[in-house]
Every structure is written in structure tokens, then in C-alpha cells.
Symmetry: C2
Subunit: 473 residues, 2 copies
């Protein structure tokens, strides 16, 4: 794959998040930010991203691209295919920057703004030619990008965003604050009233969100949730029931509260009480660990953001093996750590099990084969734990075929850490089954023949140390 | 534990959800609902609840209580400690029902309304004495309850809600629509505008929520999310930055759209396009599976709703063993199913690993011991898969000590299905370690002595079939 380059203009939390997305998906990145602190800030975001993003996937991401700090916008933009502007939300500043970027960029390069509020027509009124690509913090984990502007540029942009694991949402008409931030603004205004009126503290409001509808909104949005709530009677019935509430005083949003020092102090004081026992860095890491956990849970059913991760994962390259076949290559998620401060014993078997799945694919026992009603069931596993593995470690799994023929397949998985250390071995005995009868039976030639070739290829290899603990003795 | 009784008045989705919460936590439940379809509706909700709720926990819930349909409110209320009103949202209907319930209930019984809109002062204006206990759908999974009303009654109610795994949030002042529904109403109104104005369809709005801020709100709320976004500069800085937006046209909520047939048809038509390929039942199950997955992910770090689940789980009773010690007793979550339509091989080891954790506690190697810098590491596991296990199956794990002494502990876990079938065995070899040096060492007497007693107690037992596959031979 040819390495592509992105230019990131403005290196705050949002710009840094964009940089991390591109870098960790194999793009080279040039950043321009005149802030002398920009290097440190980007390093912080990158450290968070490297810690969290690879944990979303059961496969390794491409090799990280090369990061460079440019000394001018002109330098950053040179040869860039994607140019992302994330400077402060002031229209005059954006105009100045976008004018330079438009003039310097390559013809086919996409110029996009991270603005949460401005419309493309406002951004382009001084002659720039940019679209809005509005991301959500943390940009390296949340897939949503709101795309607004020229349809052809947005279509090209969408292709690139898919490549780096994001979900481009085309906004049909430009509008202040696009879509999501309109909801956030409404909730923010309502929340300011509730705190000001003493109905709830910031902490109580957060609990009201995250223990209730927040859990629903991570997987279904507003309308699908209500569709389900409406039940068999359907969406019209639901709406008939809640239509009248529009006339009731259920929101104060006919008005906005005075945003004075008293309100600011009230809120920041309550926020300190609520969260002041954790540093921002600790909160970020907790947030990211939870996001990875939630996203991995959604991936299991291919729902919502989990479907985006699954599709991205399916497109990742498998590494070449120069000996035994490579049946796994991945990074260990934070959530796999247990009370002993290392990867829990369960996940060694999980990794070995996924390697078995991969080897099954290699002998033709793939998704289509399983859908046809045949598969392998595991009869025994023997795992030897040889070295500790930690969150963030890269693992590479290779597979030796010990035996295969008739109903049986006996594999030996080597689980290596990125530093080359053998972390574990897993010997596994599988039996071929008919999924209808749930009984064992001999596989047809579509699987038996490829398997026989592997058996033959590995026939000359010595049995590895520790093998021979599964099967009847 | 003495069995307690709840009366559920109104058996729709909300009443059914309350019934399921109480029943699955061991309470008896009497339901009153004059609707001839009530029985079927409650069965549907209960089926969903039985399928999902037990999967939140790594421990079994209490035995289910007894469900009965009462023929009158008077009968339902008799001996009930908790009475929950979930009749339609019409103040006159609520007044009539609450008056009867107030007259019939035991003195110390808590009378609570599920109303999403009315204030206690409105509900009680005809002489009833109820509080608001406002739940969120699905009530059997989402922990949030907004409590509003008399402080002493709310305090008593909070104790009971904790017992059934919920999170009571005390609302400081009564207000139309309490807290969470004010946000939902604001978002709903804004969403109606966006659809009406053709900016986005219902599906696009749902994606804008669930691929972005919905993922944040499942674990942090509004204010903590913004605190993190504000970074080191703090909450005041964040507010200074976004205060001015209050003056901008970022929401249309100074006005509400006409709720006419055109808008209703537009929305219900879009909703059909978006979700019509799945039945409501399928959507409910997908929602529940995702919620269980998200909640289990949050439980791992003890965050947000995950902390509520973890606290509830810690209070669940351990069953007595009448032979080998019981080291596990749980229900299999939906998410443990793999492409073969049964519990994936990984989770057999997970269950065995948790049984090892429980046995470690029993010999004194508990959380405090591990915090003091000593623990056991697993050296080898050998799993035999003997019978298929499915989502929803109850599993009971017992442990035989094969050997223990010096640095070593060798255990044999029997994993039985609820029907008595031996589903798997796991033999495990553990080594006692110093967590500082990460090297093996002999445990002190606080662990060595209890372990020696178990070794002695099991010395007369035969080694089970399949044992002897771990350790040097």
C-alpha cells in the first residue's frame, strides 16, 4: 500500500485526535500549530490513542505512519491528500487559514474543517473551497463524522474516512451546528437551567444521563428507541401518545439562562466536587477504556458503532508468515488486564481460539461452510502460560498442525509477544461435526483435502515442547 | 431471607418491567391490570427479562418469586411492601387509582408512581400519599430510578431499590418531567424540527446519536464529558469557550413544530424504512443483548451503571455445597454464544478461572491478600469440553483440590449445567508468586494453612477422570 499523507492544521485535542486516526491507520501526518506547547499536547493525545485504539480490533492495524511538525502551513500541505483545519472557532481566523490552505493545496486534495458550528457557505465566503468534516472527541475512538458541503468532495471524503475506520454521515442541508451538536446544545441549555434552579447538581445530572437513556443511546438512537417503546402498536401510536407533551412545560428552552459568574462558579464548583478526585488524564483513560469496552461489546452483535469497527477490521491485511502460518496478530486491549496486573488467563485461550478460527478458514471451514451446516467443535484445550502479557502488547500467533484426518484435527498454537518471547502455547483437539445432528462426522473433501495438505506440510516437524496433552493416551 | 411482596398496578411495558425486576430478585409479585391482554404482555416482558438480566452478573440471582394476577387492586395491595402505579399518563386516572391504593395499602408500604411527567404535589392533590419512582425502559436492565417526594418515604424506598439492583436518584425539587425526561423532551423537539426541515431522516439522526455522543453518555454524562474536553484548563475555561453559543441560533427550541399528520406520517414512514426489517421483538432482544454487553463492559472498570451491577453482585448469596465446595453459580449471557450456536470455548475457561478466584478467596488469597503483594499465577490449564452449553443455561462449578503445598496448588473444576450434566472439566496448576518480584515463592501461613486443610479434606478422594494433564510428567 502506498503511504498517503494528511496535513493537520491546529494541534489541540481535536487536531491531535485526527492526527492519531491517520497515523495509526498507516498515513503519514504533518502537523502545523504555532503553539510552542503543541508537541507536548499532540504527544499526550497520541499516547492515549496508542493505548486505546488498537484494543478495538482483534487484528493488528497497519504500521504507524510518520509524524512530523511542519514549520508552515505551506510545508504541511505539500503532497497532502487530506487537509484538516481544527483552529479555534472564530470565523475570521478560519477564513484566514482556509484561504492559505485553499491556495497551497494540491488540486485533488480534500480540505475539511472540524468546525462544530459554522456552515460551509460561511467558511467559503472568502473564496476557500472546503467542506465540513465534524468529528467527536475522542476523535481516535468515536467513528462519527458529520460531512457537510459540496456533494462530490463529500463523496471522495467519505471513501477516505471509511479507510481510517470512521463513519461519514452526510448532512442533507447545511444548518448551524449540523445535527449532533444541536442536541448537545439543547441538552446543555436545559442542564444549565436545572443546575441554576437547584433541581440537580452536575453529578446528579450526569447520573440521570449515564444510568438511563445514555445506555440506550450508545446503541440505538432516539427514534429506534421510541419505536421499540411504542411496541406492536407502532410509531404512530407512540407519537400520538407523546405529541401532546409538546404543549406542556417540559423544557425551559423557550428561554436561555443568564450565563453570569454565579452560574459559571456554581457549575465549575459542582464539577470539582464530582470529578476533582481524578486528574484529566485519569478521566481520559477511564473514558477510553470504557469506550473500547462498549465498542467491543457492540462489535459482538455488529450493532451501531460496533458494525463500523467490524467492517474496518475485516479489511485489515493479514501478515505474511515465513514459516508456520500466521493465524493471529493483534494488540491486547486494556480490559484484558486482571487483578494480577497482566492479561488474564482467559484471554490466552481467547487468542488461541481465534487462531483456530483463522486456521479453519485456511482449510475451507469458513463462514460459508459453517452456514452450510458443518463445523468443528473443540474437545480439549491445553494451555501453558510461559510469560506475562500486558495491555498494549502485540501478540503474534502461529499454528502447527499436529494431526488431521478422519473427524480429528489437532493444532498447536504458539502465542508470541511482540518482543519475540513465547508467552504461551495452546494445544487443541477439534472434532468435525454436523451442526444439524450435533454429532461428529468426517468432513467432505472441500475441507479434508486442504487439511491433508497442511498435515503433509507439517509432517516433518518435531512435536513442540509441551505437546501431547490432549486426546486419549 | 423472608420473601417480600410487591404489587404492580398496570401491566404494560413499564409495569411488566417492574414486575420482572422484583420477581428476578426473589420478590413475590401481584399484578393488577384489567386489560384481558395483560397476561400475554407480562409474559413477553418477563421472557425478555429472564433472557437478559441474569447475564449481567457472574453470580446467580435469588430464586425467582411467585407471580400472580390479582382480580382487584385491593387484593394486589394486600401485604405488599411496595406498590407501583404504572397506569396511563392521565392525571384523572392516576388520581382515582392512587386514592384507592392509598386507602388499602399497609401503613408501612411504599406507594410509588412511574409517572414521567407529573409532580408528587399534583398526584397527591386528592389526598393520596405517594412518591414518584420514575424508571426507564427496559426497567429490568436500566438501573436509574428518579425519586421525588417526601424525604422519609424516598429514603425507605431507596433502600429497597438498592436491594433489587437499581440506582435511586433523589431529585432535589419537584419539577415537570423530573430530570432525564427534560433532556429527552428537548432532544425530541429538536429532532422533530430536523426531520420536518429535511436536514436529516430519523435514521440519520439515530446514527448521529449512537456513533458519537451516545457512546460518551453511556459512561460519563454531560458535565464530566465536558470537563474532560476542557482539559487541563478546567471547567471554567470550557464554559467560557462555549458560553457565547447560547446567543447563537444552535437550537430551534424557542418554538415547537406543528405536530400535524404530515409530520407524524413523515416520521413514522422514515422509521419504517429504518427499522421495519426487524420486528419489535427482535429489536427488543438486540437492544437487551447490547445493553447487557455494554453493562458488562462498564462493570469491568466499576464505572457508571457498571458500578451499580458490581455492588449488587457482591451482595448476592453464595449457595451451600453438600460435597465439594461450590465455587461458581451463574447464568450464561447471550453474548457468550459463538458461530456454532453454543457457548464459545473461551468462556468455559473464564468460568473455571472465576472458580479459581473464588477458591483462592476461600484459602485466604483474597483481594486484601493480593493488595498486600502476593497472589497465584496460572501455569497450566487443561479443559475438556463434554457437553454443549447455551445462553441462559445455569452453570454450577465445584472444585476438588488435587494437590497443594510449597508453591503449588492444583485444582480440578467441575462445570455442571443446571440439568445436572457435566459440561466441562478444567484442571489448573497455579504457582504462588510475589507480585513485586514476579517470581514464585512459598505462601505464608495465612494461605498455606487453610490450603493444607483443604488438601487434607480432599486427600481421600479419587482423582477424577481426565485429571493429570497438567504439571511435569
Amino acid at each position: 500500500m502506498k503511504v498517503q499523507k494528511a496535513a493537520i492544521i491546529g494541534g489541540g485535542v481535536i487536531g491531535g485526535g485526527w492526527a492519531a486516526r491517520f497515523l495509526l491507520n498507516g498515513w503519514d501526518v504533518d502537523i502545523f500549530d504555532p503553539d510552542p506547547e503543541a508537541g507536548r499536547k499532540i504527544d499526550d493525545v497520541l499516547a492515549n490513542a496508542r493505548r486505546a485504539l488498537p484494543g478495538l480490533y482483534n487484528r493488528a492495524l497497519p504500521n504507524e505512519g510518520r509524524l512530523r511538525f511542519a514549520t508552515s502551513m505551506e510545508e504541511a500541505v505539500k503532497n497532502a491528500l487530506w487537509i484538516q483545519e481544527s483552529v479555534p472557532e472564530r470565523l475570521d481566523v478560519k477564513h484566514r487559514v482556509l484561504e492559505i490552505l485553499s491556495a497551497e493545496k494540491a488540486n485533488n486534495a480534500i480540505l475539511a474543517s472540524s468546525t462544530s458550528g459554522f456552515k460551509p457557505s460561511q467558511l467559503n465566503e472568502k473564496g476557500a473551497n472546503c467542506i465540513v468534516a465534524h468529528p467527536f472527541n475522542p476523535v481516535y475512538l468515536l467513528p462519527l463524522i458529520e460531512l457537510v458541503g459540496d456533494p462530490q468532495i463529500c463523496a471522495d471524503a467519505a471513501d477516505i474516512l471509511h479507510e481510517i475506520g470512521m463513519y461519514p454521515l452526510r448532512v442533507r442541508k447545511e444548518i448551524d451546528a449540523h445535527i449532533a451538536d444541536r442536541f448537545l446544545e439543547a441538552v446543555w441549555r436545559e442542564a444549565l437551567w436545572l443546575v441554576k434552579d437547584g433541581v440537580a447538581t452536575t453529578e446528579e445530572i450526569d447520573e440521570a444521563i449515564r444510568l438511563g437513556f445514555g445506555l440506550r443511546w450508545a446503541q440505538m438512537g432516539l427514534f429506534e428507541t421510541y419505536r421499540v417503546a411504542g411496541g406492536e402498536a407502532g410509531m404512530k401510536h407512540f407519537m400520538a401518545q407523546f405529541g401532546p407533551a409538546l404543549k406542556w412545560p417540559w423544557t425551559k428552552l423557550m428561554d436561555v439562562p443568564d450565563f453570569d459568574d454565579t452560574l459559571v462558579n456554581l457549575i465549575s464548583g459542582q464539577s470539582d466536587t464530582q470529578s476533582g478526585h481524578m486528574s484529566i488524564r485519569e478521566l481520559e483513560r477511564l473514558r477510553d477504556d470504557n469506550l473500547v469496552g462498549i465498542l467491543r461489546a457492540l462489535k459482538h452483535r455488529g450493532s451501531a458503532a460496533g458494525a463500523v469497527i467490524a467492517a474496518h477490521e475485516a479489511g485489515l491485511d493479514w501478515p505474511e508468515g515465513d514459516g508456520l502460518p500466521v493465524t493471529g496478530d493483534r494488540t491486547v486491549p486494556q480490559s484484558w488486564t486482571d487483578y494480577n496486573g497482566h492479561m488474564n488467563e482467559t484471554h490466552y485461550l481467547e487468542v488461541g481460539s481465534q487462531a483456530t478460527d483463522r486456521f479453519m478458514e485456511m482449510v475451507g471451514a469458513d463462514t460459508a461452510y459453517i452456514a452450510s451446516g458443518k463445523s468443528f467443535f473443540t474437545a480439549e484445550n491445553h494451555v501453558r502460560y510461559l510469560a506475562e502479557v500486558h495491555a498494549g502488547d502485540r501478540l503474534r500467533i502461529t499454528t502447527q498442525v499436529l494431526a488431521g484426518g478422519g473427524k480429528k484435527m489437532q493444532l498447536f498454537q504458539f502465542i508470541h509477544r511482540g518482543d519475540g518471547e513465547l508467552a504461551a502455547t495452546m494445544e487443541t483437539l477439534l472434532l468435525h461435526v454436523n451442526l444439524e445432528t450435533r454429532r461428529t462426522e468426517v468432513p467432505g473433501p472441500v475441507v479434508a483435502e486442504p487439511l491433508a495438505k497442511w498435515v503433509e506440510a507439517h509432517a516433518g516437524l518435531d512435536w513442540p515442547e509441551g505437546a501431547g496433552r490432549v486426546g486419549t493416551r
